[in-house]
Every structure is written in structure tokens, then in C-alpha cells.
Subunit: 284 residues, 4 copies
Amino acid sequence: MSKIVLGGNQYGKAETHVVRIDKSGARHEIKDLNVSVALAGDFADAHLTGDNSNVVPTDTQKNTVFAFANEPMGEIEDFGLRLARHFVREFATVKRARVSIEEFGWSRLGDHAFARAGAERRLATVTSTRDGDWVVGGITDLVVLKTTDSEFHGYIKDRYTTLPETHDRVMATSLTARWRFARTDADWKECYPSIVGALTKTFAGHYSLSLQQTLYEMGKGVLEARPEVAEIRLAMPNKHHFVVDLSPFDLRNENEVFYASDRPYGLIEGTVTRDDAPEAGQAW
Amino acid sequence: MSKIVLGGNQYGKAETHVVRIDKSGARHEIKDLNVSVALAGDFADAHLTGDNSNVVPTDTQKNTVFAFANEPMGEIEDFGLRLARHFVREFATVKRARVSIEEFGWSRLGDHAFARAGAERRLATVTSTRDGDWVVGGITDLVVLKTTDSEFHGYIKDRYTTLPETHDRVMATSLTARWRFARTDADWKECYPSIVGALTKTFAGHYSLSLQQTLYEMGKGVLEARPEVAEIRLAMPNKHHFVVDLSPFDLRNENEVFYASDRPYGLIEGTVTRDDAPEAGQAW
Amino acid sequence: MSKIVLGGNQYGKAETHVVRIDKSGARHEIKDLNVSVALAGDFADAHLTGDNSNVVPTDTQKNTVFAFANEPMGEIEDFGLRLARHFVREFATVKRARVSIEEFGWSRLGDHAFARAGAERRLATVTSTRDGDWVVGGITDLVVLKTTDSEFHGYIKDRYTTLPETHDRVMATSLTARWRFARTDADWKECYPSIVGALTKTFAGHYSLSLQQTLYEMGKGVLEARPEVAEIRLAMPNKHHFVVDLSPFDLRNENEVFYASDRPYGLIEGTVTRDDAPEAGQAW
Amino acid sequence: MSKIVLGGNQYGKAETHVVRIDKSGARHEIKDLNVSVALAGDFADAHLTGDNSNVVPTDTQKNTVFAFANEPMGEIEDFGLRLARHFVREFATVKRARVSIEEFGWSRLGDHAFARAGAERRLATVTSTRDGDWVVGGITDLVVLKTTDSEFHGYIKDRYTTLPETHDRVMATSLTARWRFARTDADWKECYPSIVGALTKTFAGHYSLSLQQTLYEMGKGVLEARPEVAEIRLAMPNKHHFVVDLSPFDLRNENEVFYASDRPYGLIEGTVTRDDAPEAGQAW
């Protein structure tokens, strides 16, 4: 008869929302982070008998986030590395620490005032073990739209196909991209705008025959621009904009009026990588 | 014995998400609107007997939104006025039409490409009756934060008071403001950035002794800047940023590390108006 | 020239999420409430000069909610009355206190364990002034659907009408209903299930010619069942379920397969009242 | 120099919300499903050159969901199997089809009327390849709470630890559990309530020394009850309920008044499996 056993597990404090204001200069600086920690290691006893002697409480993890925020944070990749390494080094029972951070952007209104900038958030996931560290950067909820230069045709037709081919459609997506760095000492501050710039520039300039092609080109653009990036994973929901049929009203819609649909949506996911990319290890 | 009767009522199609792309020039222009219509009038029969002979179906309202979007829209106040007047003029049974629009902003990536700009949305509510029209503009979800120049003290203390007075706190809010215009032919295009600019400039520059004071000053700033505005209503949740006590860790938090709390939050609501403002009528 | 003045205003602590566990018996009881307080009164100075000497801090309001929760709460109408009256009686500067509560339901799993019951929440809004108190009960997010016994036809047709008439459709809504009590000492515990039962029974049993008619009948059913209720306001989004056209696939959809659409949706709002209902005063 | 290449990818139509009403009997039956399809296979050309000749459009996938819903659906595991196998069998370019379904529950109000039951949803993920099929069942957003029989102590203390040990706390979570079946012909209809019953019974009855222990016991309970289940993965956010300190108000909180916090929260994730469980293959 089969025996019941504990499989993979991790735990941690999720979504500690910490804001650090740097008041050292005349112009204050703000870092606004949502930090999640997940630890894996020797936690079988906590599961099997409720013996917590190997457990670092999630409350302590939260306190640690706040305490570490008392020093200048640097970029979120830096802050994640410091935190993740701390948990692995400090606690013998912690074999892997993963710190996931989302950063909210602010634009300046004055020396001491800011407005939230954009709905997109910058992401970092740092994973540390005894054997090394991995850094994954990213962005989520970056909504982009192009009004033309997008076609879709030549696909398989079967009994259930009703979609007409199109040679001019609106393409819109809410991009999530996550890129794995080949190193842990990249110039994070320079990389982020450079990568996001490569993504948006390709999106805007590429003539698209499918959302898959656009995804690939966007990923390729990043890898071409940044040698530090080993691999990039993109998720691009196809936020459909349907041309409204105005003919019942004796109007001619010259491909100008669209209904923006919520659901269902296409979801295109893909990875662009290098043939000589280092192993991903525990990065993801 | 009391008789049961029908009271106030209205109905309409909510959240028609229409996007118009103007392709007349080399650089495409985009208008991205979420339009809600609500009609009031002679609809007692539909309620009492299910006789729909006075009813304009909500589906027709949606079609009308799309059809009207086939012409250049102008500003959302213009588009709302055209739509609201249409329903009142076209249908004898419609005594009041209210069109509420939220507009999503886009920033340009190229001639034919855009990125969603900000999480805030521009608002307009236009109400039309046989007796006239009212236009209310607005903005929602504009998240702003100031890192200093905010105090809070001198308040009532009672048995349940534990809040310490403060002479330097973070002040943050997600602003919703709605302003009633004194006329229906204002320069909407100029007004919106001017009003938002007055709001953010006051928020950034004002030395605050209470969120109520900041709210009042922000409203006053708008009324001083724009004679077209008769009244402004502001709702400002106090998004608390608590100073984290790091003393248990032998650290000194120099008012730099904050915990951004979700709930509960303060909610400050107020109106700033003119002593000679025209009657609000059915504007709100 | 016009003078800028302060208009209507209120402030308070919103969404204090308090849970009380009654452990006095062998079977524990749970009350899970989200409580919002809003105070109006003599707060001009706080707005105009930042003088807070009339202000009860929202933090104190939160503390008061927790402190009052240390005694058995009774029904949410009771708890709201105690809280609202406290603020008006205790503070001369508070002219009106409004306490809005949403209650999350729990179903029992055991003597000391519970599962969240339903997505709907029970509501109460209690308003107190020197002149009296008003109690409004309610429910929100009660999703109901009927598979037949719903028609829609006989409506106005115009240039923009494309909707076909129907004699058998799915009707679905996410009901929000709020009922004003004619008294402040009703049997709240008995009223709530009785009112919700009247709403669902009418929805299920009524043969509908329009959503307006269903709304009216539902309100009427409540007023007939409960003399304590002076008035009821209902908001019923028409959550459209469209019959999917399967004819392109040589299939016949016998009105059985539907696409559940998110947006746009119809929004039907109406009040059912008594001809001799007492004045609403500041209830809403 | 490194070469840029396409990595793993998949695409499909997400969140087709289909409702099927079975009207064959006097009492109508309802199935309310949100269906997402993801296909993997020979789609390199679509990415590299925009050649879509291997692509089944996501619009066709949506149509297929609706068409298949025209026959009695059975349980969601059945419906998922039919859909996933269809895509793999019908299209040579599709190597793997994954169909993820969430089902909304309804409770009966009458022969033809229903109310949405609970906020939790039943889940199924079916994956099909040329080599076989995998079925994963599940539940999400099942909110449960126990008022006692939960301790937490004996954990690691370090410089950043402030959490006091507790021997009586509230434990609450919003459970997501997903269980992998060892076979593709289980009695899905019987399994689901049986598994959910095992989960809630263990949660309610177990005396907990840590959330990890509760998680493990809940998984073990399922595996003991259902031989068809090879493995179960649970994610349990620790929805903290903090005892409110009422001592500043000269009140004694007998562990009865709690503040329900939103964020941060603990997140406990773990797998319970059998030592002889069949390989997971492409199930997850």
C-alpha cells in the first residue's frame, strides 16, 4: 500500500508594502515596494508534527524587510539580493530564499511631492541558495496598443472557424515580461529602462503578422540590446478590439470604431533565449 | 392601510467600452472611453405591468454610443452632451438622460502606437433634460503623495484616543475630484489639464495642518484658476503610511521607513463652491 | 466677484475590518464586519485654517469601533445604532454620524470552525443626528439567475435598434437592495432573512416581461411582507447571457448554450415605497 | 557569439465564460464555466516569420468551447478531457492541449431559478498529448476560519523576532487546493464533494501547532479518503486576525475582538503525495 509523504513546500510573508523616503537631499526620493519572501528548506517537522524549531516566522520575515529598508535600498534587484542572501546565510534550515518585489513608480510633482506613474510595475525575483543566486527582472501590466501594422491570416480553418482574415487590425496587450540575468552584478539601474525601451520600441515599430511574431521580436530586441539578459519570458494577452458593425445604421465604419472586449481574450506566452544561455537553475 | 407605489427610477446601458482611432492624419489619434447611459422618464408601465412601449432598450443605447463614435468625438464633455441631448430629444418618454464617461489616457510610442498613461481616468457626467444641460468634469484614482510638510495635531482627545500628534508625516491619497461647470460651452480641452494642474500644484506646494485643509486649498485653487467651474467636490482617502518602529532591532528610523496600509483608511470628503454659484439642478 | 466658500463635507474612518468571536458557549459564534464611519458637523475650521480642535481623529473612530466590539454586538443595525449615537452624543461638534457596515456570512463547519458563506454581504447604514436616527438595511452582490419565464418585447424601435424581441431569455443579476426602516427598534434578526427570502422568492416565481417589472415586484414583495420597511431601493445590473449562434457549425442551439458577458451591462435602478412612508430625513 | 532562439511557448483563448442550461427536465440544470485553452506544438513559424499555417486561431478555440457545450457536459473533468483531446487529435501541429476550467456553483431557488453559491470555485485542468492525458481537480477561494485549537510557538528567534508565542489564535485562510488524479476515468462527480469534505473536516477537527501542519493534515486526509488522488498541492494564505489591544481603554479583550488584516499575509504552500505516485508527466 502506498505511503503518504510530504512533497515540495515553501512558506513566507507575502506583500509587505514598504515605502522608503530618502530625505538626505533637498529633493526627497521615494522607493515604494511590495515585497514577498518565500523560504524552502528543512521544514518537514513543522508539517509532520507541528514542531516549529526550524521555522523562521513570517512575522520575522516582515520585520526583516522593514529593518533592511532602513538602509539605502539601491535598485530592487540589489535589495532582493541582500534580503534573499540574509535568509540563506542566517538560518541553517533555509536552503532557498526567494524574494519577489514589485515596485510602484512615482513621477515628481515637486521636491517633496509625487504622483503615481503608470499602472505598470517593475518586478524582480531573486533566488538564493548555498550554490548561488539568480536574478530575474521584469515588468507587468504595461498596456500597449498599436492602431495599424498588424495582420492575421493564413491560419488553419476547420469546422469551427468563423474568424475572417484581416490585413489591418488593432493590436493591444497588457504585457508581462520577465528576464533572467546571466549575472548577479549587472547595472540594474541602467538595464531596466533600456529593456523596457527595447520592448516598447519593437512593439511600436514592428510590422506584425501575428501576436506570436510580435512577442518573439520584442524578446529578440531585448536580447540584442542587453548581453546581461540570458532569457526573457513574455505573456501577452490579446486584448481584442473588435470593429463595430455600423452597417445596420447605414453608417460606414472605416476601421475607426472599436469595441474593447474584456473576455475571452487570447493569451500568448513565449520564451526567447540564447543558445548558450547558462542553466536557469532555480531562477524561476 | 398604506399603498405601495413606484418611486424614483432610471435605467441604461453601463460601461460600453468604445475606442475610436482617428486615422485621418499620418499620426493616428486614440480616444478610449467607457460610456454609461442612464435614462429617467415615463417608465412606470414597464415596472407596473411589464409594458415596454415607452422603453428605449439598453441595447439600443449601446448601439447609439457606437454610432455616435463614428464621428469625431471631441472632448468627452462634447461627446456626452451630444449623446445625452439625443436621448432627450429623440424620445418623448425620456425626461432626463445622464451620460457618464471615463476616459483612459494614452501616451504616444510612435505614429501608430501608444502606451496606457497612468492609472487615473478623466471623468465627465452630462445630464440633459427639457430644461437644460449640466456638465460635470472630473478625475479619479489620481494617486499623490507628499513626503513632508504635513502635520496633524490639536484634535479632540477622548477615552479612545491613542494617536500621537505629529508634526511631520507622509500624506498620500487617491484623489477623486468632480467639478461642476457653470456653463455648457467651456473650453473642455483647456480646462482639464489646467484643473488637474491646479490640484497637483496645490497638493505639492501646500503646507498641510490636516487633510481637510489640503482638500479645501486644492478646491480653492481650482476655483481661483477656472471661472467656468462653479463647484468642486473632492474625495480623498487618507492612505496611511505608518512609521515603522525599528527600535526592537536597535535601529533608529529617522522617519524614512513606512508601512503602507490598505485598510482601514481615512476618508475625507468635501465641497468647495462659490457663494454665487448657479443652482446645481440635476447636475449630480 | 464671487467668494469661495466651503460646502458640504464629512470625514471618517472607512473599512475597519473587525471580527468578534463569542466564546461564551461551547459553540463559538462569529461576527465579521467591515465598518465605516462618517461624521459631519462643525468642521469648517479644519478646512479653512487647519485648526483641528473640533476634529475627532479617524484613528479614534477606529479605536471606538474595536472598543464597542468588546461587548456583544447584536445585529449590525444594533451595533450601528450604538456607534452612531455615541459619536453624536459624545462630541458637540458632531452633528451627524453615519455608520455603514457590511457583514460577511459564515456557515458552520464545527463548534469552532466556519466556512465563508456566499459572496453576498448584509448591509446596514445607520445615521444619527440630534433630531433622530435612521436605519437602512440591505444586501449586496446577491447573484441570482432564472433560466426561463423572462420575456422582453414591445419596446421602442428607432434607427439604432437591432435587438430582436425575445419570449424566453435568461435573466441574471447581481442584486443590491437597500431598505429603509420606518422605525429604529425593529426585530433586525428576523427581518433580514425574511426580506431576503421575499426578494429571492419573487425573483424565482415571478413571470417577467422586463427587468423593471421584476425589480418592482421584488420590492413590492418586501413591502408586503414587512410593515417595518418604508421604502426599498434596488439596483439590478442586467448580466447578459447571450444565446450563442451555433448555426455556422451546423448545430442547433435550443436556447441552451449562452455566453455570459461582462460588459456592457444593463443597469436598472428603482425605488418601491409606500404612499404614507415617513420622510426619509437623513437616512440615505 | 550567442544565437537567439525561440524557447517554450503556448497560446490559446482564455476565459470563455459559457453557461449551459439543461432544459430537458421539469427542473432546469445549470453549468456555469469559465474555460481557458492553451495549445503547445509546432508554432515556431508563427513566431519567427509570422507564418500562421500551423495556428488554430484562438477565436476557433472559443467557438469550439461553445460548440462542445451544445452536448451535455458532464463534470468539468469530462468536458475538459473532450476538449483537450479534440485539439490534439484534430490538429497535427498541436502537441499538447491544456484546458483549465473554473466552475461557479449555484444553489437552487426553484425549478428555474438559482442563486450563486459561495465565492469558491471548482477547478479542473486537463492536459492531453499524443502520449496520454492528465487530470487535475481543484478548488480555489474557499475561505475557512477556526476560532481556537491553533497554536504557534517554538520557532526560531533572531534579532528581528518580535512575534509573541501563542497558544490560542484564530486561524483563517483562503484555500486553493489542486489534486492530481492517478487516472482519467475517476468518478469525478463523487470525488469533488468527497475531497472538499475531507479538506474542511480536517481543517475543522485538527488541533493545529502550525499552519504547515494543518496543510499537511488536510492533504493527508484527502489522500486517505480517495485512492484516485496521487498528489495534492495546497496554497494557504495565513489571513491574520490580530487580537486588538484594548488596554488603553481600560478594557480587557478576552481574545474575542480581532482586527482582520489584508496585507501582508503569510503564504504557506505544500504538496502531499504518495511514495508510489505515478509520474506527474505534463499534468501541472
